[in-house]
Amino acid sequence: MKYDAIMIRYGELTLKGKNRNSFIDTLANNVYQSFLDYHDLQFSKQHDRFYIYLKDSYDIDDIVNRLMQIPGIFNFSLVKKIEKNIDEISNVSLEIIKEIIKDNINIKTFKIKTSRSDKNFPLVSDEINRQVATIILKNTSLNVDVHNPNLLLKIEVRYDAAYIIGQTFEGLKGLPLGSLGKGLLMISGGIDSPVAGYLMMKRGVKIAAIHFSSPPYTSEMAVGKVKTLLKKLAKVQGQIKFINIPFTKLQEKIYEIAKDRYAITIMRRMMYRIADIVAKKENCQCIINGESIGQVASQTLISMDVINNVTNNVIIRPLAIFDKLDIIKIAKNIDTYETSILPYEDCCTIFDPKNPTTKPKLSDCEYYENKFDWQEMINEAISNANIEIIGVI
């Protein structure tokens, strides 16, 4: 079956009142951007849907896969354009239904729903429904269920032609990427942070990424691993700016002055301070990380409060209330899990304090931090940052 077009339905953005048009424009642009290598792809934007016109030479599976990665699409369907003739409509409808049920044995019932904007067509909508349904009843084992069908086949009879709407795919949903600004993702290389970044992109927020590396305690392989993870996230965003902060000196200093119990808390505070400055520099409106309440010592609410105290930037923790298993499930879905579990040390694990506190006190943190000039070390780390643009390839 050769389809002529893909019909894309917008997701939640239909609810967004006045901002609607700008959301649609952003989505259209994102779709357009992700098909730049299809030089002659034709688009048409309508107020409630968006069409991509297909040519024989296109690889439909590839187009479908790409559309599934684009935030802001509710679902999309393959569409066949045919002659306005009831026999043709019936035959093609049957062909499409047979193709759909071939892949899905759970479909037992169907319904045909026609809308006829061309009022000159000799049959009214209900007559078309009945005629097409008759053919399908005769040629398949499906039954009609007009209230709760497993499969709803839509037919549109318009002035130019008739359209049959075939297989429908679930989109990523969420909101169009970039429609809601940009955030700075703190990425370590573990399982959580890539998932946090992904969920934010899905919610329409573009990301830049900041990573803290501590050579020689951490290896180049660890940085390579983070880049691989960003490559996978770049499938959604196209390109991601990667800011790698040399953290060795600060980290050594922290372990020198702070007690074992406080080292992680103070380290996180320094990371937040750096992220805060970098976020502003990169025009990010928030900082994103993969923290999940209670997962490790620095992620108790008391710890989060004391750590968060160094910045008034918006901190978004998409995974705050997720169970680890649910996070792993998403990580597997977005293909970051296998990379995340590769065994390279990141800067959170190298000194591995025996007894990190779960109830740090702000005054204690400040006491330790007053012992050295961290401001200068922070500035130095930021000015020595290594910046790269990570793309899909």
Binding site: P215, P216, Y217, E345
Partner: protein
């Protein structure tokens, strides 16, 4: 200054070897298994190389079989003997400090083929306990596999004494992994029945090597296929590598004669300087090891971090200890077998050179090491 001190892992290709190799790649491409004149030319050249190797090692050309290096060689020798002679007995013996390509073969034969495997202890210098070996020997033993030189600390195994013990039992095949010994010390192949090596440790081509196998020994083939030239190891011959292997071996034996005494001096000098550093424990006994390896531990330091920091200074060393929090702590198997404590076994560094270092290089090495120890934090 740049110091590549990881020659026991792999060595740089010798310039003459490289030149000849490239020349062969572009000019001589016909398979040694082909009957036409181009193929025969390749075969003749490969056979010449075999003869040269045999001459250098005082064995017969028919006893040299080319392969892809010691990992394959060890697999072939050990599994080949065990499977071929399984009707004669079911006990096979090795040491506790062998290379993984030997160790894993034994474990596989033990687990999946029901062989009885015995692992001989080593002393504090890494040299096997001959008494224990003697006690282990009996009429059920069909294979003894003991390395000539240990890859981690450089300890030289007493092949002659082992051979004497083993010879009392005519059905035992004695295999030795000579990868770290060839080109480093003199080796008498008449002591063993099978020996295995890799060309890339003696400035040859990676992915090449040979097995020495006495004619009387039969091996069960592991790689079956077209038996054109070599029924024991099927497949098109990697003859360009095989042809230049004799040159690499020849040059390494010449260098051995030339450099041996100076290498010993250099080893001793570095060991003396290392011993002066607080927190350094030297694990190699220079009197019982090859001169080109020194193994030492930096107590309390994570060797991976030391390696990375030294490499930023242009010094390339290695470690068989992996003391990392991301993966489970792994201590060096050789050092554990040498009865060293955990602190030593999980902080070891190995340096290995091919030519003696000069005084300037030694000073650079020692000062860089001290600097690294000062700069990096100890592991908790």
């Amino acid at each position: 200054m740049e110091l590549y001190l990881d020659n026991a892992s792999t060595s740089k290709i010798d310039d003459d070897v490289l030149k000849e190799y490239i020349n062969l790649l572009s000019k001589q491409y016909a398979s040694t298994g082909s009957l036409h004149s181009l193929g025969v030319e390749s075969l003749i050249e490969e056979n010449k190389s075999k003869e040269k190797i045999a001459n250098l090692l005082k064995v017969k050309p028919s006893e040299i079989l080319f392969d892809s290096g010691a990992t394959e060689g060890n697999n072939f020798a050990i599994k080949g003997v065990a499977l071929n002679y399984k009707n004669r007995g079911h006990t096979i013996i090795t040491s506790k400090v062998e290379h993984p390509s030997v160790m894993q073969c034994f474990q596989q034969l033990e687990k999946d083929f029901n062989f009885k495997c015995l692992y001989v202890d080593v002393d504090e210098d890494g040299i096997i306990d001959l008494k224990q070996l003697e006690n282990y020997l009996n009429n059920d033993v069909i294979l003894v596999s003991i390395m000539a030189v240990n890859h981690e600390v450089g300890a030289i195994m007493p092949l002659k004494q082992i051979s004497q013990l083993v010879r009392k039992y005519p059905k035992i095949i004695f295999h030795s992994d000579i990868t770290q010994a060839i080109g480093k010390i003199k080796i008498d192949l008449s002591l063993v029945d099978i020996a295995t090596m890799s060309a890339h440790k003696i400035h040859g081509i990676k992915g090449s090597g040979f097995i020495y196998k006495k004619e009387k020994v039969n091996l069960y083939p592991l790689i079956s296929g077209h038996p054109a030239n070599n029924a024991l190891r099927a497949g098109t011959s990697n003859f360009p590598s095989n042809i230049v292997l004799s040159l690499a071996l020849e040059k390494s034996l010449i260098a051995l004669n030339k450099n041996f005494d100076n290498l010993c001096l250099c080893q001793q000098k570095i060991i003396n300087l290392l011993k002066e550093i607080n927190g350094v424990v030297v694990n190699t006994n220079p009197n019982r090891s090859i001169p080109s390896i020194i193994n030492f531990s930096l107590i309390g330091y994570n060797p991976e971090v030391v390696i990375r920091d030294l490499s930023t200074k242009g010094i390339y060393v290695s470690s068989k200890s992996a003391c990392s929090v991301a993966i489970e702590k792994q201590a060096s198997t050789t050092l554990m077998a040498m009865n060293k404590n955990m602190a030593i076994a999980n902080s070891s560094i190995r340096i290995s050179f091919d030519v003696p270092l000069n005084d300037e290089e030694i000073t650079f090495l020692i000062s860089s090491l001290k600097e690294t120890m000062k700069n990096i934090k100890k592991y908790n």
